[in-house]
């Protein structure tokens, strides 16, 4: 068979991808993002004494703070990535996913997981004093929390954990099958995706069962550290970078700069990232040699990260001006700059010297926002800005609103990051100088007020995006399908 006939017999991407489902995933993701942001705003209001709902149990700031983090991780980022996988994997493998029905099932099952997590966290604590809960808890020696469980990002109530884990196994099966069936060498993106499916499943299983059921104390602390770190490093990061390796060459219409550096980036991440979790609990009773190991592997991974960023700088080299007009590309490269900043910051803050001062402060909160919003959410917004015109068969209704979304988000998160980092330094010095505790709370107020407005900037950027999406959806369908979008992605 000649190359020409082989190309002719290959299916078209349009026949491989279930575009409706991609759209659903993105809409679900954006809905959860709104809920998460409102939760964050509520907590920000609480800290500056402006919370108007202090007496309403179901709007308790403490519970909504957990909605904030969980809705971002499992609602927004997971849903957006699943939509992205539904689009990307068939295109890269020229294979359909394992089963279309399974894709639909995963979609609905995941909505059940996310919504019942939220319901559990909000309503669970109110039912905790029922007699049967206490009796069951005592007889099984299990902490039967109807609401949140006591592990960051592992708050998912215990009665949802098995369902979520089964869902992750199905996700792996659904999207790894086309990868397994594909012939020829695997593209970089697929390395990251494949590893991410394995890692996400293992990470979730480790973090949501071991510290709750079998381990306690210091050992549970070690596993908790691995879990909260791996959730970012082995679920969000590989899917995010896999997405970058897929989309950036398409937008720039040229291959990734160096295949060798891609290999270094992937294998370096795979080896060093899982080893770092304990750096979240430095100076705890966890054995000191394990803490040193975590610190060293964290600093090592920052070198690896530098190679990945260099690779992408090399790719855009000579075409840098494209980010002026190409909004998706601008989202991606801004995210990469923020990624480099977080990683550089990470190599410093992971040392015992920095930890002495900034552990337990807002510094860490600023870092978390820069990673989860400044990097991964920005990449997701870039992907959505690129894909929605293709999914809807319409151009964006307003380029200006796309710009507003970008600038409000980028400035908002950067201000929040600077503000909270500085707040962390202040708080650290208030504490170590043994001033009364209230001094640290009082001294944080200007920073917390600034943070609220930075958060509102981000939220208004989001509102621009939603408004734009609404008007785009309502506009008449373009005559020709926008295979390329001249306004946002000039050739």
């Amino acid at each position: 068979m000649s190359a020409a006939t082989e190309a002719a017999t290959q299916p078209l991407p349009e026949n491989l991808v279930n575009e409706k489902l991609v759209r659903w995933w993105f809409l679900a993701a954006l809905t959860y993002l709104a809920i998460s942001m409102l939760g964050g705003i509520l907590m920000a209001l609480q800290l500056i004494h402006w919370n108007p709902f202090t007496k309403i149990e179901l709007l308790s700031a403490g519970r909504w703070r957990m909605i904030h983090t969980n809705a971002v991780a499992y609602g927004f980022i997971a849903s957006a990535f699943l939509g992205m996988l539904e689009w990307t994997v068939p295109r890269l493998t020229m294979q359909r996913v394992l089963s279309d029905k399974l894709s639909y099932f995963i979609f609905f099952a995941w909505q059940v997981v996310v919504c019942s997590t939220a319901a559990g966290i909000i309503i669970g604590p109110s039912l905790q004093d029922q007699e049967w809960v206490a009796n069951l808890s005592a007889s099984l020696h299990l902490p039967m929390n109807l609401g949140a469980q006591g592990l960051e990002w592992g708050e998912t109530p215990f009665w949802i954990d098995p369902l979520a884990l089964a869902g992750l196994a199905l996700v792996g099966a659904n999207y790894m099958t086309p990868i397994a069936r594909a012939k020829g060498p695997m593209y970089v993106t697929l390395w990251y995706f494949m590893a991410a499916f394995v890692w996400t499943f293992l990470t979730y299983a480790m973090g949501n069962f071991l510290p709750e059921y079998s381990l306690q104390g210091t050992s549970a602390g070690a596993v908790s550290g691995l879990f909260i770190h791996d959730l970012v490093g082995l679920f969000v990061t590989p899917l995010g970078w896999g997405m970058m390796y897929y989309i950036v060459p398409i937008l720039l219409k040229k291959p990734i700069w160096s295949h060798g550096l891609s290999l270094v980036g992937f294998w370096g991440l795979a080896f060093f990232y899982p080893l770092q979790g304990i750096h979240h609990f430095l100076y705890t009773p966890i054995p000191m040699f394990l803490q040193y190991g975590a610190i060293i592997s964290t600093i090592a991974v920052e070198f690896v990260v530098a190679t990945v960023v260099i690779n992408f700088v090399g790719t855009i080299w000579g075409d840098g001006r494209k980010i002026v007009k190409d909004i998706p590309l601008r989202w991606f490269y801004t995210g990469m700059i923020f990624y480099f900043i977080t990683c550089f910051q990470c190599a410093l803050q992971v040392t015992l010297t920095f930890q002495k001062l900034i552990h337990f402060t807002d510094w860490v909160v600023g870092h978390a926002h820069l990673v989860m919003f400044g990097v991964f959410s920005m990449w997701i917004f870039g992907m959505m800005t690129y894909l929605f015109p293709r999914l809807l068969g319409r151009q964006w209704a307003s380029r200006r609103l796309c710009e507003w979304h970008y600038w409000l988000s980028a400035f908002g998160v950067f201000i929040m990051f600077l503000d909270l980092t500085l707040a962390g330094v202040f708080q650290g010095y208030y504490w170590s100088s043994l001033q009364p505790w209230d001094a640290s709370v009082y001294g944080s107020q200007p920073f917390w007020i600034t943070r609220l407005f930075a958060g509102l900037m981000i939220f208004s950027g989001y509102c621009c995006f939603i408004t734009n999406l609404y008007y785009t959806w309502r506009s008449p369908v373009a005559e020709t399908a926008p295979a390329t979008n001249p306004e946002l992605s000039p050739a």
Binding site: S219, A222, V441
Partner: protein
């Protein structure tokens, strides 16, 4: 190997994860296997029992309605429920339970935390914490009276003017002197914190007789 499906699945995916798990999680488990987990029944000590009885005297009607007798058995139940309230309400997102050996922590909060303090059912998962908006609570028990805690949970600003802590009126039947089942449990849990330690302070003078009462 570096670009093959099997290499990525088994070496990067499963292999490196397993290596990290063995070296970072299995090692501390093995190191502390001689310190088995204590159940809540084993954790009840004279200090927390004193606080529990004291709660029954301070809020007699509420205590009678929601707990009954100030027995050891009921104290166990209150501790379990109290921790669940502590977790469910998200207290642990703003209060750590870990006195660090640095940053003058030990001068502010008391003795530096050690492994044995965490080897029990009420530290599953462990409550080290990740953020301190409010102070560390590892040694909070006994520092303040239970009526202070009741008022503080009801409306923190009454006793701590600038406190940004949320109010928890749903832990009460309408007034700070009427804690409900969850409220009593949470106060018991807070008073338990640090009760295993010789540095446990007493807010009010205690005698040997009261402890053995």
């Amino acid at each position: 190997m570096f670009e093959s499906k099997a290499g990525i699945f088994f070496i990067a995916g499963v292999g490196f994860f397993a290596f990290a798990f063995l070296s970072n999680a299995a090692v501390p488990v093995a190191m502390y296997r001689d310190q088995p987990e204590k159940t809540v029944e084993e954790l009840v000590n004279p200090r927390i029992l004193y606080q529990f009885k004291e709660l029954s005297r301070r809020f007699p009607e509420a205590f009678e309605d929601h707990v009954g007798e100030a027995s050891e058995e009921n104290c166990v139940k209150a501790l379990r429920l109290g921790r669940q309230v502590y977790v469910g309400e998200g207290c642990w997102h703003c209060h750590s339970q870990f006195v660090r050996p640095v940053s003058n922590d030990s001068r502010r909060f008391g003795a530096v935390s050690e492994t044995w303090e965490y080897q029990n059912e009420l530290q599953r998962p462990v409550m080290f914490g990740t953020r301190r908006v409010g102070p560390d609570l590892t040694r909070e028990g006994g520092r303040r009276g239970s009526d202070w805690h009741a008022v503080h949970f009801f409306r923190p600003k009454i006793v701590s003017t600038d406190s940004p802590m949320p109010e928890y009126p749903w832990l009460f039947d309408g007034a700070p002197d009427k804690p409900n089942k969850r409220g009593i449990a949470l106060i018991t849990y807070i008073q338990w914190l640090g009760s295993w330690h010789d540095t446990y302070p007493y807010y009010e003078e205690l005698t040997e007789m009261q402890l053995n009462e």
